[in-house]
Every structure is written in structure tokens, then in C-alpha cells.
């Protein structure tokens, strides 16, 4: 009974504030992750040599560098170069870099799965390369990339907890403070875990709905 009172009166109110910060982190990072990821993917497939080279280096660096280290670089490292970011901004930037690198891999795979003939056909119809990519290739590729992008979104939810390591008091941080103060590590982290599990579950269900909503009838993947 004591534990229930602790959870209801102390833990949940504290977690609520943290949850809002976590949601803000995700909402700020996810759209740019997809947008930049799409840009990097297009650059890797259709770009000139230097663009391809840059995109590959971008992906290699941000996939290979641990996210926590990236956050340290942005938050503790950049001030020595004269750029001071707030913990929140540094976190969002780090998430965008990391997320876009992984997103670009899924989008690149999806672009490559679109038949080359479509590109030629678009050009034959008088479209420019940019127009073909924007109006023919990407609308199909992005739909096909949805399952992979959802995967990355789920990772983003979970890895947003790392923002706590550079002092952002989000869900994990808010819980850690309560746990340390009241010495209730098991209860606190299990409750936090359940919150993350619900976020992940809701996302997965939402993603299925989205996928069905944007599906074009008769265009099941792997047929074109």
C-alpha cells in the first residue's frame, strides 16, 4: 500500500514533467531526422561524386560514433569552439544527426528498390532529374521505407533517455532524481520502463494505421 501511495503521490507527478520533455525531444528531432535522412539518401544515390562522398562519410560517422559520445561532443566539446548549446538543443541536434544517418539507410534501400525504368520514363516525359526524384521516386520510396523508419522512431524514443546524461531532466532523469531521493530504484525504474513500453507500443500501432492510410491500392511493395 505504501508503494502504491508513493507511486501515485510522488512518482507519477514527477514523471509527468519528464514525459513532456521526452515527447518534446522526440517531436523536435524525428521530422528533421526523416527530412535530412531523405536528403542524404538522395545524395548517395543520385548525387555527384563529392555529394556521394560526403553522404557516405556522414552516415559512416554518425552510425559509428556512439550517440552518448556525440551528445558529449555537442554539449561539452562545442563550447571550446565558441558554440554553447543548451542541453535540450544539444540533445535534439545529436538525435537528428544519429537518426538521419540510420533513416537514410532505409530510404536509400527503398529508392534502390524502385525500378530504374521509372527514372528514364520520367525523363522521357520531359521532367528534370529533380522533378523525377521528387514526384516519382520519393513518393514510392518513402512509403516503402515506413517500416524501417518506424523502427528508427522506436529507437529514438528509447535513446532519448541519453539526454539525461547531459543534464536534460526528461523521463529517465526525472525518475532517477526521485529514485535517488527516496531510495526506490526498483519501483521507479519499472514504472519508467512501463511508460517507455507504452510509448513504443502506441507508436507501433500508430505506424500500422499510418502505413495503411498512405498505402496506394494495387501498389504492394516489390511489384514495381
Amino acid at each position: 500500500m505504501d508503494q502504491l501511495a508513493f507511486i501515485a503521490d510522488i512518482l507519477l507527478p514527477a514523471l509527468w514533467g519528464g514525459l513532456l520533455v521526452t515527447l518534446q525531444l522526440i517531436a523536435a528531432a524525428a521530422p528533421f531526422g526523416v527530412l535530412i535522412g531523405a536528403g542524404i539518401a538522395v545524395g548517395r544515390v543520385y548525387g555527384s561524386r563529392p555529394v556521394q562522398y560526403f553522404s557516405r562519410a556522414y552516415v559512416a560517422f554518425f552510425k559509428g560514433c556512439p550517440l552518448l559520445l556525440l551528445l558529449f561532443i555537442l554539449y561539452f566539446g562545442l563550447p571550446s569552439a565558441g558554440i554553447s548549446l543548451s542541453p535540450f538543443t544539444a540533445s535534439v541536434l545529436g538525435f537528428i544527426f544519429c537518426n538521419s544517418a540510420y533513416d537514410s539507410e532505409y530510404i536509400r534501400g527503398a529508392i534502390k528498390s524502385i525500378r530504374e525504368g521509372q527514372f528514364t520514363a520520367g525523363l522521357a516525359l520531359g521532367m528534370t532529374r529533380g522533378q523525377v526524384i521528387r514526384n516519382v521516386i520519393l513518393p514510392q520510396a518513402l512509403r516503402r521505407a515506413i517500416p524501417g523508419l518506424v523502427n528508427e522512431f522506436v529507437y529514438l524514443i528509447k535513446y532519448s533517455s541519453l539526454a539525461y546524461m547531459i543534464t536534460v531532466i526528461e523521463l529517465t532523469g526525472a525518475g532517477k532524481m526521485v529514485a535517488t531521493r527516496y531510495f526506490t530504484y526498483n519501483e521507479t525504474f519499472l514504472v519508467i520502463g512501463l511508460v517507455y513500453l507504452s510509448l513504443v507500443t502506441v507508436t507501433t500501432i500508430g505506424a500500422h494505421l499510418l502505413e495503411r492510410r498512405v498505402a496506394v491500392p494495387g501498389m504492394a511493395s516489390g511489384r514495381h
Binding site: A60, G64, C65, P66, L68, G77, S80
Partner: protein
Amino acid sequence: MDLAAILISWFPFLLTGIVATLGLVFAALGVGFVIGLPAAIGQVYGSGPVRFLVNVYVWFFRGLPLLVLLFLFYFGIFPALGLGDVSPFVVGAIVLGLHGGAYQAEIFRGAILSIGEGQMTAARTLGMNRMQAIRHVILPQALLIALPGWSNEYPTVLTDTSICYAIGVTELLTRASVIVSTEYIAMPIYLACAGIYLVLNYTGIKALHLLEKRVSIPGFEAGSN
């Protein structure tokens, strides 16, 4: 003292961190394998309760952030079990293993399911029991098919080890941070640290590709059976 001299003087210190990081990677992949493979077998061939248990395990360890798992085990579960003085390194390796095991279970499950069902029936017809069929017929093929997916676990686990910083494991990132706070130079140290991670990442992936090529059987690929 200029930067190069500082880096060189700290290099042995960083090297110990690299050893700890690689130790975490191997321990985590090993623990993950020992848990993930039986979990996958349980998921495919197990009875109802076994399948349920495995599903709960996978759901839990894939749904929670690694940081939360580390805090839960290091500050909560281990002390509650009277294991409060287990070193952070061991806790880190076990948690990374449990976390990775859930992902590995999915990889192995996919590989097992890709083996035609007829093979199990054929093995049973030849007089093998289910265990024998799994051990001598299904797994040798499934493990081969799972290898490319399993290789992808290496870079993930490598970057994940850095999160053990949060419970005070003295791995690469922790040691880099110690240098930063001693020498008051952040950027070059962290970039050097990133460089080390990239090298470890690249070498490991190359080594795994070599292994894949070595163990591959010509004409036997996923979907060919």
C-alpha cells in the same frame, strides 16, 4: 604541453578503456547468444507457456531504453538480490547481454523459420526426436543463415557499451571523460575517442565479413531450401 604530447601521455590510460570496451562487447555478444538462441528455439518449438515467457522477455528487453535497464539492474535489482557489490563492469555486461539477447532471439527466430518445415518432418521420419532434429538438421543451417543479421549486432553493441558510462564502468568513453576533466580540453579528446570507436567498428565489421565468407557454403543461401 601541446595536444599531441597530451594524447600520447594518456594513451595507455585510453588503451585500458579500449580493452574494457571490447571486453564488454564480447561478453555482451556471448551472453546474448547464450540467451538468444535458446529463446528463439523456445519461441518456435516451445509449448504455450515457454513461448509466452520468451515473448515477455523479448518485449521487455527490447522496449526499455538501455539506460533505464542499466539503472534498474545496477541500483535496483542487483542490490535487492544482495549482489550490491558486483562490479559495474559485470552488471554492464549482463545487462547488455540481456538486452542484446532479445534482439538476437529475433534474428535466430527468423533464421529458424526460414528453414523449410519439411526438413523437420523428414528428420522425424528418419527416427530422430525433435531435439536431435533441431540440433543436427535445423540449427546448422539456421546459424549460417543468421550470421549476416547477427554480424549487424556487433556495431550496435559496440556503440551501446558507451552507455555503461552511466553506471561508472571505466570503458573508453568514461576514460575519455576523465581526460577531458583533467586536462580541460574537450573537443580533441572526444574526437579522438570517436575516431577509436570508428576504427573498432570498421575492423570488427571487416572481420565478421571474413568469417561470413569463410563459413559460407556455395549454393546454400537463405531461401534456397
